[in-house]
Subunit: 260 residues, 2 copies
């Protein structure tokens, strides 16, 4: 990839990330859509785990959270903020923020909604799937890991996941909330071609990164009968060259085709 | 106030808001700092209540949430998004977003943190203070109000407040989380003059709007001994002409002087 703005004066962009899903996928997709050159630093590969809480990574982000963008000596955290930062630094040829301030506001309402409403629900569902794996982890290893998690949110999640798991009520409520979000997306896509606006934006990048696998983990919340427009939007997103590149390079495995 | 950008071609800005506190204070303060002309539409004055769930207001914001900025025919919701919108429309003479993208990212990390971590904790504490009032409301009135609240978050809050109230554990945890936030602010203010950066920004506007009354509702979390820099920052903020104007015009009552 080339950096269209900087020519030979390449600055160093490093992205610390997990495999291409959820919050890690957001900046991967933004960088690929914009054709910004960067160095990928993928954590937890080749059987490694918990690298986000290792000493070397905590020196980069003391919160122990991924993704992190390092631009020369500057460390930018929080995937949604990182994507706005990439836009600020490369307003460039490919803009993922609508020029019109009203549409730009709609974009931010969506990225905020994804962070505050969709992400916590998916976290519960994802953590619920992780419970059988987490309960098999050696107790001493788990205690050591828990003692290294700096933020209370992730620490509480792993405490829950590795002990009792989430209750049926909590998981059911998370699934219900995903259904609410899908309904909202279906309505939005009846009003304009993309999620927040007539043009493709960070709202699509961020929402797709979070929910592209939802039909598999919560088919009652996301299925083609209930949300035909969301399904069409997902299929259109699947075909974008940037999405294909990101999944090929950093995806866990080839994504299965969407249900017909 | 004059609009420095538009001269005689005034566009119509209307802000629907409650009294100057918390989320309503954010855009009030942003507009006053920037000297943007607007029409104030304050809800729940003169003994009225629940206007945010009235038919006339739900036509403006179907979510029943305040503040709302109406710019000509465009409706912008979410206080943090509104403030970014005001900056997008009036980049102007007074900028509340750092020009440098790195500091701008730090500003957004703070506004996000205020929304996702500080605001939910303050909501529990504020709602806890509202319980004695809410439990006196006529049952039929409360049921009618609850049936009109569109979003599940506020509806659940008022269900809790008007029945059992929050548990001691929930309130204690909210107070603890406020303490964590104050510590984070104290550390930030040891690194630069303002909350997110060397320059005054929307991070200060938003954080002050949320926590300026915290020393009264949660003195164990915010007091001058534990957080001298936060206290100095609050006093400096108190003296800003825009803050004084906003509190004079839209404050509940003259703010008492801060504890010495």
């Amino acid at each position: 990839m080339t950096n269209p703005q900087k020519g030979q004066e390449q600055e160093m962009f490093e992205l610390y990330h997990f495999e291409a899903a959820a919050n890690s996928m957001k900046p991967l997709l933004c960088l690929h859509e914009k054709g910004v050159d960067f160095v990928s630093r993928q954590l937890n590969q080749d059987g490694k785990r918990w690298e986000q809480y290792s000493d070397w990574f905590l020196k980069i982000n003391p919160d122990g959270q991924v993704p992190v963008l390092v631009h020369d000596r500057h460390v930018i955290v929080e995937s949604t903020v990182i994507n706005e930062y990439i836009e600020d630094v490369f307003p460039g040829e490919v803009s993922l923020r609508p020029h019109d301030p009203c549409w730009r506001a709609q974009m931010r309402i969506w990225t905020k909604y994804v962070d505050e409403y969709v992400c916590p629900a998916l976290t519960v569902i994802g953590a619920n799937f992780a419970t059988p794996f987490a309960q098999k982890i050696d107790k001493a290893e788990m205690e050591d890991v828990l003692s290294r998690i700096p933020l209370e949110g992730p620490r509480r999640k792993w405490e829950t996941v590795s002990s009792t798991g989430y209750s049926e009520e909590e998981v059911a409520d998370a699934r219900r909330r995903l259904g609410v979000a899908v309904e909202r997306a279906e309505k939005a896509l009846s009003e304009h071609q993309w999620l927040a606006a007539p043009a493709y934006s960070l709202a699509d990048v961020n929402a797709y990164s979070m929910i592209s696998g939802t039909e598999r983990v919560a088919p009652e919340a996301l299925n083609e009968q209930a949300a035909p427009r969301v399904f069409e939007w997902l299929r259109t997103m699947d075909e974008r060259p940037a999405v294909r590149q990101v999944l090929e390079r950093y995806g866990r495995r080839p994504a299965p085709p969407r249900a017909a």
